[in-house]
Symmetry: C2
């Protein structure tokens, strides 16, 4: 199947992917008088008296804005807000299909950090949550941080935390097969953008002691003088042994490689230099190393972002359930505890008897993932 041709046809035939649906019948004059004037004035009055009633009488409690400025879309880069719409609509229908979350695309015609923050705050009244998407680093950190501080609804940058949660889920199951404890393994993450930094932080919260982040210039350490503020902050809390050098230098003897970088960044020789390694090569569309090459070089387990290889590591396993839970429970924040619980829940969907080196994560289509996440977060 040629997905490019099929995708163009699907998008053109349907004129996009989302529509609005009324939850109310409008067949009689009484229907009109109840859903619209004069009846509608009464829920308005109630909300005016008690703003929290907005969750009772409107769709807010199940509505999520999928917000992008089109600055870092898939592997396509800064293609702007209009060209980003197909991705955001896609995200919205995944939210609906898997989480029964009503998500709407907001593609902003500005790439100014302060303007994005202001615009999202201004349009927040109708939404119960904000999913930030495909906004380039380091702006995405400031935007997420400020919106979390300044809004009274949960805010989540999926490229960071959705990716981190699914990586942790994949790791949990890989370690069961490798019979290793998470506190004993050493990790290199190649790619120090939004996803790399978020993965790093969540793995540390989950117990990994030594993580080395690499960018195109090699290992990030306190000795580097060329780091932006986000990377400099990471230098303070990673790379406990102060290793320096290229990816090839620092990867030697490590147990886990996580790639959120670019095609062909990981060589077979590098894999050979590792310790019975777990390889998550998630660059899209071409991974840092092809799975067969990694296995030939001695990898214990290989996962990628692609659906046509085993072990697809895809955050569609994460965001529908995570938002479903947070909306249902009216939680204000996606804490580390919530993210770790979600990762464990996703991992738990793969039963011990099914778990194998080629099956470490549930299928993207597995309907038991969302309820598992919701139950786990409710139990916290």
């Amino acid at each position: 199947m040629n997905f490019n041709i099929e995708a163009l046809k699907m998008h053109e035939d349907n004129r996009g992917k989302i529509a609005i649906k009324s939850k109310i019948e409008l067949k009689t004059k009484d229907d009109l008088s109840t859903a619209y004037t004069p009846g509608v004035a009464e829920p308005c009055r109630k909300i005016h008296e008690n703003p929290d009633d907005v969750y009772k009488y409107t769709s807010k409690g199940n509505l999520v804005a999928v917000v992008s400025d089109g600055s870092a879309v898939l592997g396509l880069g800064n293609i702007g807000p209009k060209a980003a719409i197909p991705v955001m609509e896609g995200k919205c229908i995944l939210f609906k299909e898997f989480g029964d979350v009503d998500a709407f695309p907001i593609c902003l015609d500005t790439q100014d950090t302060e303007e994005i923050i202001k615009a999202v705050k201004q349009l927040a009244p109708v939404f119960g949550g904000i999913n930030l998407e495909d906004i380039s680093a380091p702006r995405c950190f400031e935007i997420e941080k400020r919106l979390i501080e300044e809004l009274d609804i949960p805010v989540f940058h999926d490229d960071q935390h959705g990716t981190a949660v699914v990586v942790l889920a994949a790791l949990i199951n890989s370690l069961k097969l490798r019979k290793s404890d998470i506190t004993d393994i050493e990790c290199v993450i190649n790619g120090a953008g939004a996803a790399g930094i978020a993965i790093c932080k969540l793995l540390q919260s989950a117990g990994i002691k030594n993580v080395i982040l690499c960018d195109t210039k090699g290992a990030i350490s306190k000795n580097r003088t060329d780091l932006n503020s986000a990377k400099a902050a990471m230098a303070e809390i990673t790379n406990v042994n102060g290793e320096s050098g290229t990816l090839a230098d620092v990867i030697k003897g490590k147990d886990l490689f996580i790639g959120v970088s670019a095609a062909d960044m990981l060589s077979k020789d590098m894999v050979k230099s590792m310790n019975n390694p777990i390889i998550f090569a998630m660059a899209n569309p071409t991974p840092e190393i092809l799975p067969q090459d990694a296995l030939d070089a001695g990898a214990f387990i290989v996962g990628t972002g692609r659906s046509d290889f085993d072990n697809q590591i895809n955050n569609v396993l994460v965001f529908p359930g995570l938002f479903r839970a947070v909306l249902d429970l009216r939680l204000k924040a996606f804490t580390e505890e919530i993210k770790i619980a979600a990762a464990k829940a996703i991992a738990s969907v793969v039963k011990d008897e099914e778990l194998s080196k080629t099956y470490i994560l549930p299928s993207s289509l597995d309907r038991s993932v969302v309820p598992a996440i919701v139950e786990a977060i409710k139990a916290l």
Copy 2:
């Protein structure tokens, strides 16, 4: 039926009125790969190469933002963006039900004119049109004017132009019954806010020569020194005989009263002083005069905004068809010609043999209104 109680129940039982619907099946891995990664990259690339392809591959062409700041909601006044949501969701489901237009509520947490303009421009990429709603005058004029100038999609303030179109439709049919020509009648409009001014302008475009606008201080004329800029501009182009005084003073001998003001502003004595008058008393929820009182005082025809009296003059007859037409034809502006064509089309839905003093407009539920408007605008 107690619409207040029913409305609370309906809104609470359904948790609001709108949901998102996927137009795409997501049942297989191939579905995911076509609607989302990797396939979705291809429509993104096409739009990046040719921005107009956004109409081909996304939902933009059928998506309308219903934008309010909650500053002038129904008769409730400035209740803010959250309390306005039930009205905006109601508008959205009317758009969907009658026009098959996908409309989404945007309730902005700002009432600053420049900030509203900026916010709407920033969120415009995903939308094919903007419906401004319940924004107080005179800010609404500047906001609409600037957005029309600065956006490449059609912008429409329904409180102004939707109301004007349905009033003109009601007038066209009333004049058939009264056997009068629109160029011969004289009119007083009570209420010089957004709706009053828009009605005035459209009636003039349709041929009425003498319209007098009144505010709470009486007739607006060039002699008044207390007018805001919007009213001062209207003084230049209305009240051809320079009449001054109260509503009671200037209404004498006139043929048409249009009320967009408040309860009980029109007395039976005023009606008696008019010339076989047509009375459109549209204040909500209590009209300027009750229909029976107006008829007792000699009114030829009476219409109100209410569904429980004959001749409901309601802009739900207008906006679904008008947007359906403008979206289908990719028109950039709602011109006077388009608005007059829509009014004539709405009037034409009432067949000559059905037309009577108690049936001058089609029912709000009449499914033939939208196609009639679309056909009329296509024929221009």
